[in-house]
Symmetry: C2
Subunit: 146 residues, 2 copies
DNA sequence: ATTTAGATTAGAATGATTCTAATATTAGAA
DNA sequence: TTCTAATATTAGAATCATTCTAATCTAAAT
């Protein structure tokens, strides 16, 4: 944890208790939280924290390439502190997001006429599916999943 | 156009003038419009059209698998009447979206432990980059692009 | 022409995200 | 340690995309 704080301070990132709480929450977090998830969690320890702080911090982290923003969900953005190149799969029933660590970089070569038009900087594969839990529930009837 | 209308009527899709205007606008449209783009366009001929109509129609089309919803933009959903499997690239400066007709289906095989957890139904590759126009403008200074 | 299921509308409601302006805090300098 | 400037925090308003509501209207089958 100490190292985490030092690491950000070095980068000229001003550290407040709220920010430290956000960093702690994100550190090693594989749940792909949305802004609201982060807010709810931080609020436990800092009841007066505001959404502005959460969004400001996320923006700062995003600008410094410390978190990745993910567009896989049709409703809202999700955040991922894991910066290793990887992809995601989302359950279309419960919106759970899982990581796909598979290197498709060789395969995802763009056609020449696109390369001619765009200077590509990144790519990301979104997979959609139904998770095990939701498959069971669907057979049962009602739709619900953790 | 006649065929387009017949095609939808067959599918039990009740056709109103507003819906026909939306269908016309979408037919062969490669601009990947968002709901607001569609609304603005229809409003020219039907000044009283409401957002509800646009969204209702898009929902009906989506449910019938007549348009695809795209999550590549961080701000809003875009719609694509082209249902052939393909992918997209978005300019991170001006948000222009272009099509990438390249078949990656063989390459995008999921790892077994994911297949075990998810019953995958679809995938989509988002490419991010800077379009030619915006590359020029960036060198110049200001950021703007059609 | 009648009927009815389904569509349209204005506008309110919701949810995510951004903005504002006043206040408070961090981190570095004195 | 105290001071200061730059930056962060806050509540709440504002914005934007999207969905909902309830009253009214219309397509299309009879």
């Amino acid at each position: 944890m100490k190292e985490l704080i030092a690491k950000y301070r070095e980068k000229g990132f001003k550290l407040t208790p709220q920010r430290i709480a956000i960093l702690k929450f994100l550190d090693g977090n594989t749940s792909h939280p949305a802004a609201n998830d982060i807010y709810r969690n931080i609020k436990k320890d800092y009841p007066t924290v505001s959404f502005a702080t959460v969004y400001n911090t996320l923006q700062a982290l995003r600008d410094r390439r410390e978190v990745a923003e993910i567009t896989i969900d049709f409703q809202k953005k999700h955040y991922d502190p894991d910066l290793r190149p990887h992809h995601h799969i989302i359950c279309t029933e419960c919106n759970k997001i899982a990581d796909v660590f598979q290197d498709y970089s060789e395969a995802l070569r763009l056609p020449y006429h696109i390369k001619d038009e765009f200077q590509a900087t990144a790519n990301h594969v979104n997979f959609y599916g139904i998770c095990k839990k939701c498959q069971k529930i669907k057979k049962g009837g009602t739709k619900l999943c953790a």
